[in-house]
Point group: C2
Amino acid sequence: MSTPQQMRPPRPTMRDVAALARVGIKTVSRVLNSEPNVSRETAARVHLAAAQLNYEINSVAGNLRRSGQATKTVGLVVGHVANPFSGQVHAGVEDVLYPHGYSVLAASLDDDPEREQRLVREFLRRRVDGLILTTISHEQTYLLPELSRGLPIVFVDREPGGIAADAVVGDNVGGARGATAHLIAHGHRRIACLADRETLTTATHRVAGYRAALEEAGIEYDPSLVTMNLASADATCAAVAALLGSANPPTAVFTAQNLITIGGIRALRAAGLQHKVALMSFDDLVLADALDPGISCVTQDPRSMGALAGEKLLARLAGDDSAPSTTISPTTLIARGSGEIAAPR
Amino acid sequence: MSTPQQMRPPRPTMRDVAALARVGIKTVSRVLNSEPNVSRETAARVHLAAAQLNYEINSVAGNLRRSGQATKTVGLVVGHVANPFSGQVHAGVEDVLYPHGYSVLAASLDDDPEREQRLVREFLRRRVDGLILTTISHEQTYLLPELSRGLPIVFVDREPGGIAADAVVGDNVGGARGATAHLIAHGHRRIACLADRETLTTATHRVAGYRAALEEAGIEYDPSLVTMNLASADATCAAVAALLGSANPPTAVFTAQNLITIGGIRALRAAGLQHKVALMSFDDLVLADALDPGISCVTQDPRSMGALAGEKLLARLAGDDSAPSTTISPTTLIARGSGEIAAPR
DNA sequence: TTGAAAGCGGTACCAC
DNA sequence: GTGGTACCGCTTTCAA
């Protein structure tokens, strides 16, 4: 079998259209790009020829010569395309960039730090005009050459390490503090905190918010109530089960991420304690209101975070060269029942 | 303010690397593409120069001249990137295509039929090597020229209309029949069916499966129990509430899509009937097992559907020119409680 | 082993 | 209004 491409009829080029319309190639270019100074009849002939050949302009070739080799493409790296949070970020980015003619090359880390650099490298080879990144590795100094070259890079959800760059993140400290304070307001003093990997600023900031709330209430910090590096719902379920079975169990639980919340819910239900032990989640879940009790949470707006990141990128693309800034997207507390269970006395 | 691009230091080209390494440009190309017939010392000089300049090869320019102008890019259109189902499909596609060097341009329809053609057109302009599409418009004859040109196109989740092309879909008829038969086996004879827009084959096939199960059991079809064109959870909630309040209400409900299921759950709970009226869902939901009762469902595997679509595309890309085929991905029935509520007698 | 020249499919610039 | 020609950054071809 020979090369498959050779068996296919070749795609028409501008030259083919020009020949059929009996005009110069430059005139075809003018017509198809809606440039001025073409007579109506000539334009009509060109459009007819293009339609007959089913010609579609080749923007890849065009962009090669065009202004500064812009490709009108941006690269988006998210934690995992299958995670609803990532999907919302993607949607927000799309909302903002598509109307401006940008396409989005999307890829996911799959929770694999190795992939981060590989994906970015692939995007650079494709000469994307900008990058929107959710990172997983600890630092991003490998991006320094690109940054100094002026490539717009915006981080979303997680702040970059080792470099100064734009970022859009949720109010991790404030949200966690609010959630914890909410539990304290309902009389709890022994509050467990379950969080993600400590290489992620999202996780460390949420734990920091938790501690801040304790401190403000004058409650002593008990490290045995805090478990970090939880990477799955199952691991969380086991961790919570262990806490509940301990000598001095918590009366409330703060789960600092959506998968972790699922594990926490499972553990409480397995122990039959879902109406006894309070639960506050960081991030919302579908059907969280249909559970009994409903799951109280502080929630971010990932779609708006994606949109904010897209807007920041557009601004940079348009020449904004102000100092890098971090935008903090607010969180909202939603009370549904699980967070309002009072502490026993 | 002048054009921002002009203020940025220009990105180095192969010529810059060649000059610094004092070799010809073709030698740089050979080294960076790991082609044979280059001396070790020359290769070392080139690598050093490339590293000094932070040079990254421009695959866009390269692909312009390279074999058949392949761009190593595929376009993916999904229903909505923010929908977990779409995210899973995306993940499956990525799993298969990335190891083969393809990048994925992803875009979502946002439930807007208008967007479908615009997005496809944009992908064609970018000369993607293939297309994986979840469609929303009723027919896709506009793709005929591309199909006859040999562009690989694989439909996923929903079958194409008016054209013969590869497709990967769930077992909509079989899954719906199984779900309905499950309810019948628990004594139900008045089973409501709530489904999506009738322009979608997924919706019509699921209703067909529902009817097939009734027929097999010798139950007469009652059109008043079937509501189609439900586009949201809220609309479904209202529709179910109306059915429950009618003179001869259903004893069981089959919700034929995940958003519709959410509406159904809300309606049953609002009426306090979640333990009286049985519910079977098409597609699973996060936390469906944590509800009381747990939500029984037939579930597809969207990630595997995405992967199957990716594999079909790879085969076409490799020259497979067999007749278009439709792959049916099986469904699994998961019993959790809501589907096993017996009919009153 | 190496490199000069042509060309991929368009756009920029400048004559006509 | 129209079109020729150089050229974007790379690969291909072919000669040295």
